[in-house]
């Protein structure tokens, strides 16, 4: 095994960084879709109808107890078969990145649903009643009073969940997707397994930088949104 080469380490950046857009695209689209789906599922969990509640709770349970890599393979091998059998749609020639986005979105929707649900429940329902009494509609009460507070409460946990998503997105290379991680893996293969350490160290450094950006962004948002509204702990509702 050749000794650690600093020169090689630097060259790895040139090899993997061209694939950064692939990684970024997967992260961004998965974040968007998992957020949308997460909102829907959180809505379902808080629904009056027991059918929706059971369905969304079942979804959360199943997805939260599936390891990311297992789900990725299930989607990659299972979804084309399922769609071909049930709807006669052939998706075998779809790009691999689409399967990755589907897997990550499904997976993190369940985590985000929990984040959104608990944030929503932490906002005192009395404010909604107060809004109704001053003439706001249910929808106005939600988006003018409840939602802004829900977002502030959800933000730290949302950022944590997205951080986990970013890290799990690195698994995409197992189905053969060439993102940063995949490019690094190919590089190691081309070198017959040599310079693995330099390659992974370079990848780690790139992820550390991504996380500095994510963390600072979150802090900035928290500061902006939470400005002057340290939401007071809500007194317990007493009914006499």
């Amino acid at each position: 095994m050749p000794p650690f080469s600093f020169k090689f380490l630097v060259s790895v950046f040139g090899e993997v960084l061209p694939y950064f857009p692939v990684t970024l695209l997967i992260i961004v689209t998965s974040t968007i879709f998992s957020t949308l789906l997460g909102v829907l599922i959180a809505r379902g969990q808080l629904s009056q109808s027991s059918v929706w509640r059971t369905l969304s709770q079942g979804y959360v349970f199943v997805l939260r107890s599936t390891p990311p890599i297992v789900l990725l393979f299930l989607i990659f091998y299972g979804l084309p078969k399922l769609l071909l059998l049930t709807l006669n749609i052939n998706i075998n020639d779809w790009q691999k990145s689409i399967f990755v986005v589907i897997a990550l979105s499904l997976l993190f929707a369940s985590n985000l649903a929990e984040v959104f649900k608990s944030a929503y429940l932490s906002v005192d329902g009395g404010q909604r009643e107060a809004a109704l009494m001053v003439g706001l509609s249910e929808w106005q009460a939600f988006y003018r009073v409840t939602l802004p507070q829900t977002i502030v409460v959800a933000l730290p946990n949302f950022a944590n969940t997205i951080a986990a998503l970013i890290k799990d997105a690195a698994l995409a290379y197992v189905i053969g997707l060439v993102d940063m991680m995949g490019a690094g893996d190919n590089l190691i293969s081309r070198n017959f397994g040599h310079h693995s350490l330099e390659t992974y160290l370079a990848l780690a450094i790139i992820y550390w930088i991504i996380f500095v950006v994510v963390e600072q962004g979150t802090k900035y948002l928290e500061k902006r949104l939470g400005k002057s509204r340290a939401i007071a702990s809500n007194p317990v509702e007493v009914t006499a």
């Binding site: 009643e129 107060a130 009494m133 001053v134 509204r229 340290a230 809500n234 509702e237 006499a240």
Partner: protein, 265 residues
């Protein structure tokens, strides 16, 4: 002005309200008293359809509502005539004191922004909190928050204000200011229903006192008669139980309030 007939409410098997009949005339201040669990709060919240009753009729001026068949349009129309002051204030935590009052004026009543601001500031001035208009609820004391809550309800100039134990969640030394603000509203001729435990306040400010127990109206009368010559044994017992501790204590708090009030006027 407001007539409620045979208002009933059940939680599962437990019958909380067993047919309440109440009449409120314009300008009346009605104090609703009773031990906890008697259904006072449930009744008040039912009037505003926050926890709707199961059956009964509500007549507000010329609007007649059958509780069982009430449509959301009817409820909206009824709520427009009502202001509600909550035990836990329920201020919008994401809005300043001023924005809390403006919200209903601008969004609920579609009053132009500039005019709404002026009205909101007037309302805050009345409760002595104009200097706090840019503070968020988390920066206000309980007493201040409740006064903003009252300003929020009163700014819309509703025909009746329902107050659900407005001082129960407050530290004792903050109660006086809030009662003073409510008294001021009463003096202006506002129609109000107040669920309260402040006996001295009920006696002094109310035009009519209603005593509820176990989901029924047990007795209603003018305050002097009500407190000095209670008729039903249940009310006698209730009054004797609270008189020793509460009246003495609250009487003191309330006297303090009138002194502050006099200084201001």
């Amino acid at each position: 002005m407001l007539k409620v007939k045979n208002f009933r409410k059940k939680y599962q098997q437990h019958e909380v309200l067993k047919g309440i009949d109440i009449e409120v005339d314009k300008g009346d201040v009605v104090a609703l008293l009773g031990p906890s669990g008697s259904g006072k709060t449930t009744f008040l919240r039912g009037l505003a359809f926050l926890t709707p009753g199961d059956s009964g009729h509500i007549e507000f001026d010329d609007q007649k509502i059958d509780i069982q068949t009430a449509t959301s349009e009817e409820i909206k129309q009824l709520r427009q005539k009502m202001g509600f002051v909550f035990q836990n204030f329920n201020l919008f935590a994401n809005k300043t004191a001023l924005e809390n009052v403006e919200e209903g004026l601008v969004i609920g009543r579609h009053i132009p922004k500039a005019q709404a601001k002026q009205k909101a500031q007037e309302a805050l001035k009345k409760v002595g909190l104009l200097d706090f208009q840019n503070q968020y609820p988390s920066q206000l004391s309980g007493g201040q928050a409740q006064r903003v809550g009252i300003a929020r309800a009163a700014a819309l100039n509703p025909e009746i204000i329902l107050l659900d134990e407005p001082t129960s969640a407050l530290d004792p030394e903050l109660v006086a200011d809030v009662l003073q603000v409510i008294k001021q509203l009463a003096d202006e001729g506002k129609t109000m229903i107040v669920v309260t435990h402040e006996m001295a306040f009920a006696r002094d400010v109310a035009d009519k006192v209603i005593f509820m127990d176990k989901g029924l109206v047990v007795e209603q009368n003018k305050p002097i008669e009500f407190f000095d010559h209670p008729k039903s044994p249940r009310l006698k017992e209730f009054l004797s139980r609270i008189s020793a501790a509460t009246v003495a204590h609250n009487g003191f708090e309330y006297e303090k309030a009138t002194i502050i009030g006099n200084k201001e006027s």
